[in-house]
């Protein structure tokens, strides 16, 4: 057992975990934030994406101990005082989800993508979201939402 401490959505958290505990399990089981999903557990689908020190990463493919001291933002942490993040609002406005399972990871990846590429175009969005799979929507509305969200994040 090792005590792992980090900042999650602005709050200092700590928990005793085995070294082989995945970051996603730390977030879901130990911190109790279940918005971060596990779709594949094989590093393919991106439903487990969280922000770690400013970059989106797949939390099913990282050990909790590797995130010692890091700043983590999960989907629960992107809204501001009950107001949707512009990217969440864009997903809502563009009907960019059906079952919603992939959505937390999609939104996190999209925020990272738009923050780093404010003037991104459609091809850039499709390429930039290669690490996130959606089984429902056919992606078109997700792409529309990310383009709209990127515009909104600039303003």
């Amino acid at each position: 057992m090792a005590t792992v401490s980090m900042t999650v959505n602005g709050n200092a958290v700590a928990a005793d975990v085995e070294p082989d505990t995945l970051l996603v399990d730390y977030i879901r089981e130990h911190i109790g934030l279940t918005g971060t999903h596990v779709g594949c557990d094989t590093s393919q689908c991106g439903s487990c994406c969280v922000m770690l020190d400013g970059d989106s990463i797949k939390s099913c493919t990282m050990l909790a101990v590797q995130a010692e001291g890091a700043e983590v933002t999960t989907i629960e942490g992107v809204a501001d005082n009950g107001e949707f993040h512009p990217m969440q609002q864009a997903f809502h406005d563009n009907h960019a989800l059906q079952c919603g399972f992939c959505t937390p990871g999609m939104v996190i990846s999209a925020i990272d993508l738009a923050a780093k590429n404010p003037d991104i175009d459609e091809a850039g969005v499709r390429r930039g979201l290669e690490g996130n799979l959606c089984r429902c929507t056919g992606y078109h509305n997700i792409v529309k939402a990310v383009l709209a969200g990127a515009q909104a994040m600039k303003g």
């Binding site: 090792a2 094989t42 590093s43 393919q44 989106s56 101990v65 590797q66 990846s109 930039g128």
Partner: protein
């Protein structure tokens, strides 16, 4: 997962010491080793995390050499203005590995140590004539890659950096597997101080390799036309559910021509 011990190495010597026991492994980005552990393909007793060793991170350009620390992430190589200026083909290659999240964790050292037969970095190292620097020696890329998932590294030997000579021209073209984005066939070509090189990944039954006939032809004339009529031996190609060996052999010719055209243009 499988119950291993975790250590955070303080420096390279510490990492080498802790990972020299038989079942211990260094841990870099974890983008290969953690999925392998989950799948039961790897069962280390100890993981020795290199992430805290500052010396292993970063990119420097010195005259005609680009040096990249082993723990430098794919995203950092792709986004580096220095690499983009000195060896644009290398930056573009790094930007085409996997997806954004893989590039935010995966490292050059981990990719090379792993030597996946469909990985991109081995082709860049061989195709540029890189030198792999470890805690106790320097290994030419030509002597480093030893077949499927095999390298010249000894147990407990840590890659610290990779040095790339700046070529006069170079390009990497990849035909990605549409599901994994690993190379079904990838060809890195370059022309410069390390000679004329054509390195092929994804295709070979025995991992990354140099295509000698193409190198000789390009030595005469560095143009896609020079590759006309060169046949790639089907017998040396991998064959699996993604592509049969004859298809891979055919693709090597096509992708090599595209790479040369991109480098020459």
């Amino acid at each position: 997962m499988s119950g291993f011990n975790y250590h955070k190495a303080s420096d390279v010597a510490d990492a080498a010491g802790k990972s020299s026991s038989e079942d211990a492994l260094p841990l870099a980005g974890g983008m290969t080793i953690l999925p392998s552990i989950k799948l039961g393909l790897s069962d280390p007793s100890d993981l020795v995390d290199l992430a805290g060793i500052g010396d292993l991170k970063g990119i420097s350009v010195d005259g005609d050499t680009v040096t990249i620390g082993a723990m430098t992430r794919h995203a950092d190589v792709a986004g580096s203005a220095d690499v983009q200026n000195a060896i644009p083909a290398l930056a573009a290659m790094a930007g085409g590995i996997g997806d954004a999240q893989v590039r935010n964790r995966g490292t050059i050292g981990g990719s090379i140590a792993n030597n996946d037969p469909a990985a991109d970095y081995p082709a860049a190292c061989l195709g540029l004539g890189a030198t792999i620097v470890t805690n106790n020696r320097e290994i030419a890329a030509d002597d480093f890659f030893k077949g499927l998932f095999e390298t010249a590294l000894d147990s407990g030997e840590i890659i610290t950096a990779v040095r790339f000579p700046v070529p006069a021209r170079a390009a990497y073209e990849k035909f990605p597997n549409p599901a994994s984005r690993y190379a079904l066939v990838g060809v890195f070509v370059s022309d410069g101080p390390a000679g004329t090189r054509v390195a092929v990944t994804g295709a070979g039954a025995n991992g990354v390799f140099r295509q000698g006939d193409m190198e000789s032809a390009l030595g005469g004339s560095f143009s896609a036309d020079a590759l006309e009529g060169i046949s790639v031996s089907e017998g040396d190609m991998a064959s699996d559910l993604h592509a049969a060996s004859d298809y891979r052999a055919h693709l090597v010719g096509i992708i090599a021509k595209r790479a040369v055209a991109a480098a020459a243009g």
